[in-house]
């Protein structure tokens, strides 16, 4: 039987950025869906919450993300109904076990030369500690305090590494992420200024509504100032 193998992504999302702060985990991603160089959709969420406890975000092929979410939501539901205790005592999927499960899925698909073309970010809060991990299309896993997929790995990670401390407050963490997203909007041509923030703590797991970053000052940046030529103000070189 001849099966097609995924060779390239078609409809894509760009970076997902995340960090652990004092009391939880914060993720950010823009809501742009790209179709090659076409900006296809401006309001597509690339992060979802699973079982009100775990955040799952993705960059890369959007249809693969949708399939993964479908499977994970079914898994979370099955988890609540399994076991004789579930009537009295809720059993829910933990972030770490979801991360491991996705690793197994991604690795198996890659081993059949037909990967889910995504970088996945899993975030949660359990056993009184925050959890943040990534899985790539090959099935590689990393558990870290700072994560950034796609272009974020080049543009956002240096900023995160410079500014991050383990005792960041939520406000400081949010400001740092917004700064990263702004830089990504400036320099990643598949990014937009319309972003979502997602937070998971001991008691909450929420994703904000999409909102626009304020980039009105962007053109005033030093790198954007051009010297005007001798001909006094007409922009010639």
């Amino acid at each position: 039987m001849a099966n097609k193998h995924t060779t390239r992504p078609i409809t894509t999302g760009t970076s997902v950025v995340g960090l652990v702060y004092d009391g939880g985990v914060l993720l950010a991603a823009d809501t742009l869906l790209s179709y090659g160089s076409m900006a296809k959709s401006f309001n597509t969420p690339r992060m979802v919450s699973i079982a009100d406890r775990v955040l799952l975000g993705a960059s890369g092929e959007y249809s693969d993300f949708q399939e993964i979410v479908s499977r994970v939501e079914a898994l979370a539901l099955a988890e609540t109904t399994q076991s004789m205790e579930s009537v009295y005592d809720e059993r829910t999927l933990s972030a770490k076990s979801l991360w491991n499960y996705l690793r197994a899925v991604m690795y198996q698909k890659r081993s059949k030369m037909n990967p889910f073309w995504n970088d996945l970010v899993v975030a949660g809060f359990e056993n009184d500690a925050p959890f943040l991990g990534v899985i790539d299309k090959l099935g590689t896993t990393l558990q870290e305090n700072l994560v950034a997929t796609g272009f974020g790995g080049y543009l956002a990670m240096p900023l995160l590494r410079e500014k991050w401390r383990p005792d960041l407050s939520e406000g400081e963490a949010r400001a740092l992420l917004e700064d990263c997203m702004k830089v990504l909007f400036y320099r990643d041509c598949r990014a937009s200024a319309r972003i979502q923030l997602a937070k998971v703590t001991k008691d909450t797991c929420i994703i904000s509504e999409p909102y626009e970053l304020d980039h009105s000052n962007g053109w005033n940046a030093p790198s954007m100032q051009r010297a005007v030529g001798d001909l006094d103000g007409d922009g010639g070189w």
């Binding site: 076991s83 004789m84 059993r91 933990s94 076990s97 491991n100 499960y101 197994a104």
Partner: protein, 261 residues
């Protein structure tokens, strides 16, 4: 029991609304030698009386390791038990590979009970002729649990239980003492298990380091098996305890223990 026209197939009901094949399978469990289980908040202990066919033969193993966090004691058809152990070990390994963590015992036991039930509703199969006592630690809730399955597919969770030949004696002992178990230490639990087991020996036999065995799992305790030489110190404690009990109860008259064949 009795032979009649409704007991040949597991898929045939008797007029009294019973599945006789399933009940006959449960008889097989009662023929196996005794196995006890009890737990505290931190540990779960299984004890078993190992039978040997003759003086020349070894004693039949009755306690099996399923995973670091799960132990199983058996009574009945040993071969059926080994088949179930193989299934459970496989499930544990698969779960560990996919989810990176120990399987919650409750989840595995639920699937195991379904596996038992399936055999009671199929024309071509027979029920498993073995009762299991499964001790396990739930990794998510960090709690200890003891479960019992029987050929019918019923699943129960217990604070303490005993199955097999003459196990009523053990159950009576456990009922008497179970309220002290949650606060007991690991060693105290082991001695309780041996004490319960001691009442299940037949006739002139006694509980020795050859025919007794203990398995322990706990919150910070991977599966261990205590047998032969390592068991002797606990058996010695048993003697001391028994003498103390005898002295204390000299004036009391004890209830006659019901004996089960």
């Amino acid at each position: 029991m009795f032979r009649n026209q409704y007991d040949t197939d597991v898929t045939v009901w008797s007029p009294e609304g019973r599945l006789l094949q399933v009940e006959y399978a449960m008889e097989s469990v009662k023929q196996g030698s005794a196995c006890v289980g009890l737990r505290s908040n931190d540990y779960c202990v299984l004890g078993a009386l190992k039978r040997s066919v003759s003086e020349l033969s070894s004693h039949q193993k009755k306690l099996l390791e399923i995973d670091d966090h799960m132990a199983m004691g058996i009574a009945g058809l040993t071969a059926d038990a080994r088949s179930l152990a193989k299934y459970m070990r496989n499930e544990c390994l698969n779960h560990k590979y996919v989810y990176g963590d120990n399987i919650p015992p409750a989840v595995l036991m639920s699937d195991l009970a379904d596996k038992h039930q399936r055999t009671t509703q199929t024309y071509v199969r027979r029920p498993f002729g073995v009762g299991l006592l499964v001790a396990g630690v739930d990794p998510q809730r960090n709690s200890c649990h003891l479960y019992q399955t029987c050929p019918s597919g019923n699943l129960y969770e217990f604070y303490a239980s005993a199955i097999g030949a003459r196990s009523q004696s053990a159950r009576t002992y456990l009922e008497k003492h179970y309220e002290s178990f949650p606060a007991s230490s690991k060693d105290e639990l082991i001695v309780h298990a041996l004490q319960a087991l001691a009442g299940c020996v037949s006739g002139d036999d006694e509980l020795t380091k050859e025919n007794g065995s203990i398995a322990v799992v706990g919150k910070n305790q991977n599966y261990i098996l205590i047998e032969v030489e390592e068991l002797q110190p606990y058996l010695d404690k048993l003697e001391i305890k028994r003498n103390d009990d005898d002295d204390a109860e000299e004036e009391e008259s004890e209830d006659a223990e019901a004996m089960e064949t």
